[in-house]
Amino acid sequence: MDAGACVPSQRPDRPSLLSAVKIARSMFFLFTLAVFVSEPLAWAQSDSPSEYQVKAAFLYNFAKFVEWPADAFPDTNSPIIFGIVGDDPFEGELAGMIAQKSLSGRKFVVRRFRRTEDLRQCHILFISVSERKFVPQILRSVHGSSILTVADTDGFVRQGGMIGLVLVENRVRLEVNPQLAERSHLKISSKLLALARIVGESGVKSN
């Protein structure tokens, strides 16, 4: 019955075209308004930190709660070097966070590495999730040096890493293998260990 509404002979005339322009214009206005209103909203939302902000804060804390052997630094003022191998999941956040900080006279430096580079030039090595397939290979390449290995890949500590950052119900939890750290002459403070899930040698199955 209302098939007439669809008959092409009733072509749209000028007024409807004009109103289409009007609608488009007001849509554009609303749209810019949305941009205008929502941007301040976005700034205001800082109540809950992002996953990698918290993980960066943990890395900073590891520097505080881990003791390196004296020969890990050229002299008493040389910086503590954070290494990130692979894509930077912190998006520069880590460097920003620690830029103005120092710990008993040592400044902090963040260095990015490619997997193929020599990774032994740092004190804390964070293995990015982008390198998850190469974790055993990377761990082998730093074996025997006093480097604290940290990652948030699945089963990192079981694979032979020292500290794993595990996400459980939207909270970051720690998994630590203290024996492994000890063998690399790193002393992890008991305060840190008390808050972590200890993974023993028995947990080290592969590699």
Partner: protein, 675 residues
């Protein structure tokens, strides 16, 4: 005010202000970040992080109308089946036909055998080629094991292939290593007369994990308008297994298998003879069963390249009044992802599917031939190009398919997404998709009705498939906008205009006299032909609002309108009837509140418009759930459903070959214990 805004200069100033705000926002944003280096370890450990941003980021950057049902959404809905969960997706139309049958579609053309939706469970296509529809009663898993349900409205044909015309539903279960340990859950209530499930997961050797589960439910009947019980109660049992192995750092292997069986009651009035009284009302049960085995091998070749090879076998058995179907399906798929240069992300794949069926003729309907084998060969290629420091993303691709019904089909699409700030994105797409013919459209004969004439033999109205039936075509235009200014608010708006051609219509053909089966009768044939065009347009809106960290609101709105125009020579009344099988307006609001002492209080209100083509009035549906988690391993909950009215009808279209019954108010209680 309006004059002021529309003057050229004022508008320019306005745009400049917006632009400056936009440029400044990252700088200002930086300053408000808290200093976490001064935070104690204990506080850091207890700090809830917004890990969702990365995942959301992925969906935020999708140039399609996508909605994701998360595990939390599933748990807090209090719903007990996959089809019911889909109600929370804006843009989908979900309606109960009877207690165990649903009509589900996206963007129009709803019905029990809605044929433009592709449903995948862990990569396994679950629609039946017999009707191109989905038997929703058998699509189930342990709901606790679902990682997420991704729903893409609009054509997904480029990657997913034929039948992904109006949408793709992708049900993804959790990896075996995420479901370790035991889970026991059981409950009972009025409609949910009793249900129980058990799952156990453990390590499989040094490199893998597995889980096994079993599930059973017994659901009660709905009501007839008279208030009596309809005979549509149903009960199902199901067992399943999933195992994942990390064979090497590069290789993972997945094994997924399942087996199910059950009975589903229904009432159907069907033609049962060509002499009076012609029709008979059958009350009884559909017997259904089936199973599947799937293996998938994924390999990461390098950072730039990975591939997956998947093989599955699926068996479906179904016996009911209108037909019987036994089907075996074997499917092999290969897909590879390649990143090259800084801008390109290429996906391509090849697939082969073999399906064979054996149908059981009934007086009402029969397939000729009664058994048929079909092969589908397919390939696809899609390139995602990121330009202007990844702010603009173009996706170009096409699927190529060869099937036994229509031969070669090409389904290209072009999509673009522009995220002009990190919080806003607009996207648009133009795609072509086809809905390949179902077996019924080429091979069926169904006796819709019969009556006696005063003088002469009885007359039978019968539908006939046509071996020349070809694919239905869609050309879809989509435009969407996303706003995601932070954790508090997000908004997803999608609009579409779909142009269909060669849609299924009924053509009345010349009557003829048939002697077999006796008595001699006149057949008025209705031939299924590609004789209809149509347009569908609509708006879909999904929102999310975290009012406080304890209260979340999720509104949704759907507007869809369909115009069908049958070609001259076809029966337009019958062909265009499905136009009125969708509500024009639908809206819902979900509210999730975390009360003290681990108590959760969740409410969902749906308002669904009337179905103009049926005698189905508009209705409201109100669900409530009260949950309590006294410990991390124990959850108790009470769910009250359909509180808004004592009973209502949701769908009653012709022809669906089952009596529509009415949803009733119900309640159940449930205990879940994980160990």
């Amino acid at each position: 005010m309006r004059d002021f805004i529309t003057t050229f200069t004022a508008r320019r100033i306005f745009i400049c202000v917006v632009f400056v705000c936009w440029i400044c926002s990252p700088v200002l944003g930086q300053s408000s970040k808290p200093d976490l280096t001064e935070t104690s370890l204990e506080t850091l450990l207890n700090m809830e992080v917004s890990s969702a941003s990365r995942k959301q980021g992925k969906f935020f950057e999708t140039s399609a109308a996508i909605f994701v049902i998360s595990r939390e959404d599933i748990r807090r809905s209090g719903l007990t089946s996959i089809p019911e969960l889909l109600r929370m997706v804006p843009g989908l139309q979900v309606a109960h036909i009877d207690a165990n049958k649903w009509a589900i579609t996206a963007r129009g053309s709803n019905g029990r055998f809605a044929n433009k939706l592709l449903v995948l469970m862990d990569g396994r296509a679950v629609y039946t080629p017999l009707f191109s529809g989905v038997y929703w009663d058998v699509q189930d898993v342990l709901l606790e094991d679902i990682e997420r349900i991704e729903v893409i409205r609009g054509p997904g044909a480029t990657v997913w292939g034929a039948n992904a015309v109006n949408g793709v539903i992708n049900i993804i279960t959790r990896a075996a290593k995420d479901t370790q340990g035991g889970l026991l859950s059981a409950g009972a209530g009025s409609h949910e007369r009793g249900f129980a499930s058990v799952r156990y997961g453990a390590r499989a050797g040094s490199k893998g994990h597995y889980r096994v589960f079993a599930k059973y439910f017994d659901r009660g009947p709905f009501e007839l308008p008279s208030g009596q019980d309809a005979q549509d109660q149903w009960h199902f049992g199901r067992v399943g297994l999933r195992a994942d192995w990390e064979l090497s750092p590069e290789d993972t292997l997945t094994l997924d298998a399942g087996l199910y069986g059950g009975r589903a009651g229904l009432t159907a009035t069907l033609v049962s003879s060509f002499s009076p009284p012609f029709e008979q009302t059958f009350v009884g049960e559909a017997h259904v069963g089936g199973g599947h085995v799937l293996t998938r091998w994924k390999r990461t070749v390098s950072k730039q390249s990975n591939f997956a090879l998947q093989l599955y076998y699926d068996r479906t058995d179904r016996s009911e009044f209108i037909q019987g179907e036994h089907r075996h399906t074997l499917d092999l798929d290969f897909a590879q992802q390649l990143s090259w240069g800084n801008h390109h992300d290429l996906v391509w794949g090849l697939g082969f599917r073999y399906t064979t069926d054996q149908t059981r003729p009934r007086f009402f309907a029969a397939f000729v031939p009664d058994s048929r084998q079909d092969q589908v060969w397919s390939g696809f290629v899609q390139d995602e190009i990121r330009l202007f420091s990844k702010r603009l993303c173009l996706t170009l691709g096409s699927k190529f398919e060869h099937n036994g019904y229509t031969g070669f089909e090409v389904q290209p699409s072009a999509r673009a997404l522009w995220s002009f700030t990190p919080h806003h994105a607009v996207w648009g797409a133009i795609s072509r998709a086809v809905r390949t013919p179902s077996r019924a459209e080429q091979d069926v004969r169904a006796n819709f009705g019969a009556f006696s004439t005063p003088a002469g033999p009885p007359t039978v109205i019968a539908g006939f498939g046509d071996p020349a039936f070809r694919s239905e075509d869609l050309l879809a235009y989509e435009l969407g906008y996303r706003l995601n200014p932070g954790k508090r608010i997000s908004l997803d708006l999608a609009t579409f205009y779909n142009q269909y051609d060669h849609l299924r219509a009924f053509r009345q053909e010349v009557a003829f006299l048939a002697l077999d089966p006796p008595p001699p009768h006149v057949v008025l044939p209705l031939r299924l032909v590609n004789g209809m065009r149509g347009q569908t347009y609509g708006v879909e809106l999904a929102g999310n609002l975290n009012l406080t960290h304890r209260w979340r609101l999720s509104p949704g709105l759907t507007f869809v309108r369909q115009h069908l125009r049958a070609d001259p020579g076809t029966n337009s009344a019958l062909s265009e009837a499905s136009e009125g099988d969708n509500p024009v307006w639908q809206t819902h609001l979900r509210s999730m509140v975390d009360l003290p002492h681990q108590v959760e209080w969740d409410l969902t209100l749906h308002l669904v418009g009337r179905l103009a083509g049926q005698d189905t009035p508009r209705y409201a549906r109100l669900d409530m759930r009260l949950g309590w988690r006294p410990t991390e391993t124990l959850e108790l909950c009470v769910a009250l459903q359909n509180l808004a009215d004592p009973r209502h009808q949701e769908f009653n279209a012709f022809p669906q070959f089952a009596l529509s019954t009415q949803v009733r108010r119900s309640a159940y209680a449930k205990v879940t214990w994980s160990f």
